[in-house]
């Protein structure tokens, strides 16, 4: 299960991330699946079913050199029809959501992010800010609300994604997968997977920030109101 996926805007593109099992996983088990050089799809909750849906979608040869809104619409129709087939066969429909993210070279030229969830039959919802998916995305949203700005660099956005992952994993009851996958879609380079070494660096940095955050927080309630500086 993928319990935390995210698409974070930054000044030079968008950073994509999601929790995955340890070790090498095959491409069709990942939470980040490229659809083209400028568009990718993130899968949350039932990762395996989501990958099956994306595999089937790609096998149906969707048009990907069109505006992202159209890609999201195609995904909506396709995913909904596949789930309807399951329902017709009286099979349970797994909990599944996706985020279609990319640089809209065929339309606005800007980053566009759409959320598609089984709960509303994959009707695309466009997001102006960052997008988070998965059952355990609340802490990431909370921190993002406090830290993220649209002018951060891609490097910093990668580190933020790692921080959100580390902070969510710090709560034992929130059982994320143990590792993090990251990818970027840059205006100048398109889609790129972030290699394991770089992910490791981001996670180490995030762990240091996490320790610092914990230490700094002790002052919030231990220092009397009157002594807190304006």
């Amino acid at each position: 299960m993928a319990k935390l996926v995210m698409a974070l805007r930054c000044i030079d593109g968008v950073v994509l991330g999601g929790d995955v099992p340890f070790g090498d996983i095959s491409e069709n088990e990942d939470v980040i699946r490229p659809l083209s050089q400028s568009v990718a799809i993130l899968i949350h909750d039932d990762r395996l079913f989501g990958n099956w849906l994306v595999d089937e979608f790609l096998a149906s040869s969707p048009k990907v050199d069109v505006p992202i809104e159209e890609i999201a619409e195609q995904a909506h129709s396709f995913f909904d029809s596949k789930c309807q087939e399951l329902a017709d066969q009286h099979q349970p429909i797994p909990l599944i959501g996706t985020i279609v993210a990319g640089v809209d070279w065929n339309g606005t030229g800007e980053i566009e992010l759409y959320g598609l969830h089984v709960g509303n039959r994959f009707t695309p919802i466009i997001f102006g800010g960052n997008v988070f998916g998965g059952e355990y995305n609340a802490i990431a949203r909370f921190l993002d609300h406090k830290i993220h700005t649209f002018t951060i660099s891609m490097d910093n956005a990668l580190q933020l994604a790692a921080l959100y992952f580390v902070e969510t994993r710090s709560i034992p009851a929130l059982k994320l997968e143990p590792s993090l996958n990251l990818a970027t879609i840059a205006y100048d380079r398109g889609f790129q997977t972030v290699n394991r070494e770089r992910v490791k660096e981001c996670l180490s940095q995030a762990s240091r920030w996490s320790e610092r955050l914990f230490a700094a927080c002790t002052s919030v309630f231990s220092i009397p109101d009157s002594e807190i500086e304006e």
Partner: protein
């Protein structure tokens, strides 16, 4: 959804919840999710507002009518009362379908048997096998946070320390609920709170006092925001 919590301080319990109800017609911040059961015990509800309130009020009236005093007796009878309240409510609904989760927290001081502060959790989750659900009851040895609890738990791991008194913990609960409200749309409205101590029993915290606590937290909110902003990107 909502955010409801029962927290353990060194000298008692803090019970707190928001007051938002969310439905097809939008949201309203008018829900009463909290009642006093007797001198030492309170009850909270979350999930479906109407059967939740009915369950709480039926518990209170049965405890008063039957003069139940033991925590264990009230806790056991609550299972039946909550189940009946939920089934009766479902029966009255025109639309026959699965309804959502409803849950309760019963918390207080057990002064007749264990001489301890106790927290019980009741949860009714309907399923295809049991459309009317079945109450599950659990005794909670630690704190209990339910419904939209993720952010609250995260903040408590940062700010809570075991030596906190009821008054300190009440302030922390207000802080945590207010911070949760900044991002969770289904948590909102006036905060409802009570504290339970051995000496004074169940005491509802007045709305005016909650507002005062919120005002006194303003520097803390700012300080926490500043910490979050400053922590990242410094090598």
């Amino acid at each position: 959804m909502t955010l409801a919590m029962a927290l353990r301080a060194i000298d008692g319990l803090v019970l707190a919840t928001d007051s938002r109800i969310t439905g097809k017609g939008g949201t309203a911040d008018i829900s009463e999710k909290f009642l006093q059961v007797n001198r030492d015990i309170g009850v909270l509800t979350y999930g479906l507002a109407q059967p939740g309130y009915e369950g709480m009020s039926q518990l209170v009236s049965e405890v008063n009518r039957n003069q139940w005093a033991h925590f264990s007796k009230i806790a056991d009878e609550a299972t039946r009362i909550f189940q009946n309240a939920y089934e009766n409510w479902v029966e009255r609904q025109k639309e026959k379908r699965f309804y959502g989760v409803v849950g309760f927290i019963l918390a207080g001081y057990d002064n007749l048997e264990t001489n301890q502060f106790r927290i019980m959790h009741y949860d009714i989750t309907p399923s295809p096998e049991q459309p009317l659900g079945r109450v599950s009851m659990r005794s909670m040895p630690g704190d209990l946070l339910v419904a939209q609890w993720y952010i609250a738990r995260y903040l408590l791991t940062k700010f809570y320390y075991p030596e906190m008194t009821v008054n300190e913990l009440a302030e922390l609960a207000i802080f945590v609920i207010a911070e949760t409200m900044t991002v969770e749309e289904t948590v909102g409205g006036p905060i409802q709170m009570a504290v339970i101590t051995q000496a004074a029993g169940f005491q509802r915290v007045h709305q005016q006092d909650i507002i005062c606590m919120l005002q006194s937290h303003q520097k803390r909110f700012a300080r926490f925001n500043q910490i979050c902003r400053n922590i990242a990107f410094r090598h």
